[in-house]
């Protein structure tokens, strides 16, 4: 085991809450992360955003402090309190200077354990979200990403924006947030991660004092692990935005869950296909050779249940049809013929060489530890990581590409000026015009 991999410690507190920690010595910083292992996939179908709104609401007042008092007390420490839902988990984190560790731990415990749910804050939260949404929908990149997700999953649990959809603004009530908190925030389904310049003994002692007596709610919702019963039929979908100079392009199909045994081969294949920047085939072809975009990226979204595989890019409107064709061709080539030994070796070398950089900061370490816990990857995961990357063979990579890339069954969404692109796109496949969300 490389000597720079920091030892991870684990304790179970009296109430069953899992505590994970790492001592960090480079700068006097501490990152505290409370993770509930339920996220936006638990949102009711017509109330997208409940998990995320609940998380933010915790920061808007506790039994002891008003929103303003809490903000003043956190920021007087120079600290940052963040609360957000993701897929499969929700994170409430507080980061600050190690000199304030005890105060930070007390504040985070108070936020999570004794929220006040002040009624007067709810309409303010809703109006802020309304304003945010108006801004987000002005950004073609955000719009395309959100629209694709919704179009693709057709109402399945991963098929909405984590922060909420336009209809959520009227649908979600304070009662929904209180109910979500009461159900999902329980020690049995949560973990506290502490990375910082604080000795283990002190962390364990403080965690026991501030978290050990918390009972929480529950029982938490069952975990969501199944593939959706249906997704959007493959095809070419167009959202007309006449004012845009460029088209935003999103395409994809269903991927695999994080626990899938092909995780490592797929990660390497995807690096070669479209995640490896200038080392990737999509970037090489569409940017370097053709100059048709500034950036392109493919990604498997590894989650507890199968997440999507997506390719995202943009191009001046007149190139749209060509770019879609080129992406399909590059995917087809990788699926049929796999990757080369040199490509695989370089991708492996990238992940192994890059590994120490991923351990450099307290927040990066905290994020890795939370992910290891969420997906039950094993406490020795960091120690085994490089071996697993190096162990992927050319055959395994080829098999993973063949099994999991589906260039023939892509859902393709273009957000752009229809007048400039419809004809060109129509030569690829029938174009289905879609309306605003």
């Amino acid at each position: 085991m490389a000597e720079y991999i920091p030892p991870l410690y684990q304790e179970t507190l009296a109430n069953g809450l899992n505590l994970l920690g790492v001592e960090y010595s480079r700068v006097p910083w501490v990152s505290l992360t409370f993770m509930v292992k339920r996220g936006a996939e638990c949102d009711p179908p017509d109330k997208a955003g409940v998990a995320d709104w609940t998380a933010e609401f915790l920061t808007l007042g506790t039994a002891r402090r008003s929103q303003r008092q809490l903000a003043e007390d956190v920021e007087a420490l120079g600290a940052r309190l963040k609360a957000r839902a993701g897929w499969d988990a929700t994170y409430i984190s507080l980061e600050g200077l190690a000199e304030d560790f005890t105060a930070l731990m007390t504040l985070l415990a108070e936020v999570v354990q004794t929220p006040r749910f002040p009624e007067e804050e709810f309409p303010l939260l809703r109006e802020r979200r309304r304003a945010e949404l108006a801004q987000v929908l002005d950004d073609p990149r955000e719009l395309a990403t959100r629209y694709f997700q919704r179009l693709f999953f057709q109402g399945a649990p991963y098929g909405h924006a984590v922060r909420g959809e336009p209809e959520s603004l009227e649908a979600i009530t304070l009662v929904d947030l209180v109910a979500h908190y009461g159900r999902e925030y329980t020690p049995e389904a949560a973990t506290l991660v502490v990375v910082g310049m604080v000795p283990r003994e002190q962390v364990v002692q403080e965690a026991g004092r501030t978290w050990g007596g918390w009972r929480g709610g529950g029982p938490a919702s069952p975990t969501y692990t199944a593939a959706p019963s249906r997704t959007c039929p493959p095809g070419l979908y167009l959202l007309d935005r006449p004012e845009l100079a460029q088209s935003e392009i999103r395409l994809g199909h269903l991927g695999v869950p994080r626990q899938h045994s092909d995780f490592f081969p797929l990660r390497l294949v995807n690096y070669i296909l479209g995640e490896g920047g200038f080392s990737s085939r999509l970037m090489l072809r569409i940017r370097s050779e053709l100059g048709l975009t500034y950036g392109i990226r493919s990604r498997f979204h590894f989650r507890r249940a199968p997440g999507p595989f997506t390719v995202a890019t943009f191009t001046p409107a007149e190139n749209t049809g060509r770019v879609v064709r080129e992406i399909q061709a590059v995917m087809q080539e990788v699926k049929e013929n796999g990757v080369t030994l040199q490509e695989l070796t370089e991708a492996q070398s990238y992940y192994v060489g890059h590994f120490p950089l991923s351990l450099e900061t307290p927040w990066a370490l905290a994020r890795q530890i939370a992910t290891i816990d969420l997906h039950e990857l094993g406490w020795d995961y960091l120690c085994r990581y490089c071996e697993q990357i190096k162990g992927v063979t050319l055959g395994a990579a080829a098999q993973a590409a063949k099994a999991h890339l589906q260039p023939e069954a892509l859902v393709t969404l273009v957000v752009g000026p229809a007048a400039k692109i419809s004809q060109d796109l129509g030569e690829l496949a029938p174009v289905i015009q879609v309306g605003e969300i």
Binding site: Y4, P6, Y24, S25, R26, V27, P28, W29, Q67, R68, A71, E72, V74, E75, A76, L77, G78, A79, E95, G96, L97, E99, P123, E127, R128, R130, A131, A134, Q135, L137, D138, D139, R141, M197, V198, P199, P242, A245, Q246, G277, F278, S279, S288, L290, G291, L292, T293, Y294, F314, T315, P316, A347, Y350, G353, H354, F355, P356, L357, E360, T361
Partner: protein
């Protein structure tokens, strides 16, 4: 990693070891050793940015940054990035108003490879018409992404061109659309000869390397390069603004907004510290004045006072920015008037000691956070050096903030946040049809 020891953490100050060298050809090297992890950050900062450009060739610094990845006599396009990524490296570059920076964060055993590739592209860059045209198209696409199709990109561009009448900060780093189209390969070759040589280069190596070893490696690879000497220093000064300037920008948008800018100071001026603290007092965090007064009650979707903190601050006097996005249903003119009233109150009534203490603590935390990464350590050292000639300022940074008083904040607010010193651009939403009728966005 070593075990954490109980320390007197509250008195902690940065104590970054900086070992400077100068090669005979004028190259400056700063080594920032740290053995925590077996990695290094290699950074090459060329002292050229959009402030060195002229009308007609705006955007050339940034376009040139792209060309540096297009291959050399030995290497094909993007092979530079591929070779280093294959060793685990993070490779990128960025261009600002004041400098163009290239970096590689990678395992320490590959430092020499990175140095050899950097010197190769400095000495043997392959600039041909085909490479040039391909990359020009990429940059035009990037401009559309960052400026034209982004919600506020063109609004901010218009603000800078309104506020500056003579100084090169009036044009965007990405360049003006017309200039990008007309730039030629010959322009780029002339630019390459003028600015890309050891006399205009500062190299920073931060991480697990012994200083003397780093110097030997840099000497070995860069030492034989000739330099025509540093380019003549560029002294440009924006005349004081003598009255408010306003303009309107119409585009398709769901929101109304205004962007405002006040001329302030550059990094080397001592007022940069109270001004940075003032921006944090105004909008840093949810306890801040503008958040509590406008964002929390739902009048503004976003309201931010922003000035890049040292050492990210511009070298010459920059704008202290206000970015205000009205919440749906809020009257923009009323929001603007109330914002200026709020600033007037600060100037006349002052602020509480707790507000200043909070801002100082927030900036201390941000500084400590940055220093957790080799890359940012190196950048902070390098940028202080590049823009002020004094890398050691990184170690005094927290003390500079500490020394600022409430009276300093009131003084700078009165001095700089004046109506006569202000430029304002209003974003006025129009329909897609109206937008098309107004002509092409560029």
């Amino acid at each position: 990693m070593t075990r954490a020891e109980p320390l007197n953490l509250s008195g902690w100050q940065p104590a970054i070891d900086i070992v400077p060298y100068r090669l005979e050809n004028g190259l400056h090297l700063l080594v920032v050793p740290d053995e925590s992890l077996p990695v290094v950050s290699l950074q090459l900062h060329y002292q050229v940015g959009s402030r060195n450009e002229l009308p007609g060739i705006t955007g050339i610094s940034h376009l040139f940054e792209h060309l540096m990845f297009r291959g050399t006599k030995e290497l094909g396009p993007e092979e530079f990035a591929r070779l280093l990524q294959a060793k685990g490296g993070e490779i990128n570059a960025f261009t600002t108003k004041d400098h163009t920076s290239y970096f590689e964060n990678l395992p320490k055993e590959h430092l020499e490879l990175a140095l050899s590739l950097e010197v190769d592209r400095l000495a043997n860059l392959k600039l041909d018409e085909e490479n040039f045209q391909t990359e020009k198209e990429v940059v035009i696409s990037e401009r559309k992404l960052r400026s034209v199709d982004s919600p506020f990109g063109l609004v901010e561009e218009q603000l800078y061109s309104l506020a500056y009448t003579q100084h090169p900060y009036q044009w965007p780093v990405i360049g003006r659309a017309q200039d990008l189209r007309r730039l030629t390969l010959a322009d780029c070759l002339a630019y390459y000869r003028t600015y890309y040589h050891p006399g205009n280069l500062t190299v920073v190596i931060a991480g697990d390397v012994r200083p003397e070893e780093a110097r030997e490696l840099v000497e070995k690879h860069f030492g034989s390069l000739k330099s025509p000497g540093s380019p003549a220093p560029l002294e440009v000064r924006e005349p004081p603004q003598r009255g408010e300037r306003r303009s309107v920008f119409k585009k398709v948008s769901q929101v109304e907004a205004f962007f405002a800018g006040f001329h302030v100071v550059g990094l080397d001026h001592p007022d940069i510290y109270p001004l940075t603290l003032l921006a944090v007092v105004l909008s840093g965090g949810r306890a801040s004045r503008l958040y509590q007064e406008f964002v929390r009650p739902g009048r503004a979707a976003d309201l931010e006072a922003y000035l890049a903190p040292p050492p990210w601050s511009a070298r010459d006097p920059d704008l202290f920015l206000i970015r205000a996005v009205a919440a749906p249903g809020t009257d923009l003119a009323g929001l603007e008037a109330d914002l200026w009233s709020s600033l007037e109150r600060l100037k006349t009534e002052g602020l509480q000691e707790a507000e200043l203490a909070r801002a100082k603590k927030i900036l201390k935390a941000q500084t400590v956070q940055g220093l957790a990464q080799n890359f940012y350590r190196g950048l902070m050292v390098g940028l202080f050096y590049l823009k002020t000639g004094d890398a050691q300022r990184i170690n005094g940074l927290l003390q500079y903030y500490e020394q600022v008083t409430r009276d300093d904040l009131i003084r700078v607010a009165r001095n700089y946040l004046r109506e006569d010193n202000r430029s304002v651009v209003i974003l006025k939403p129009v329909s897609a049809e109206e937008s098309l009728a107004l002509g092409e966005l560029a």
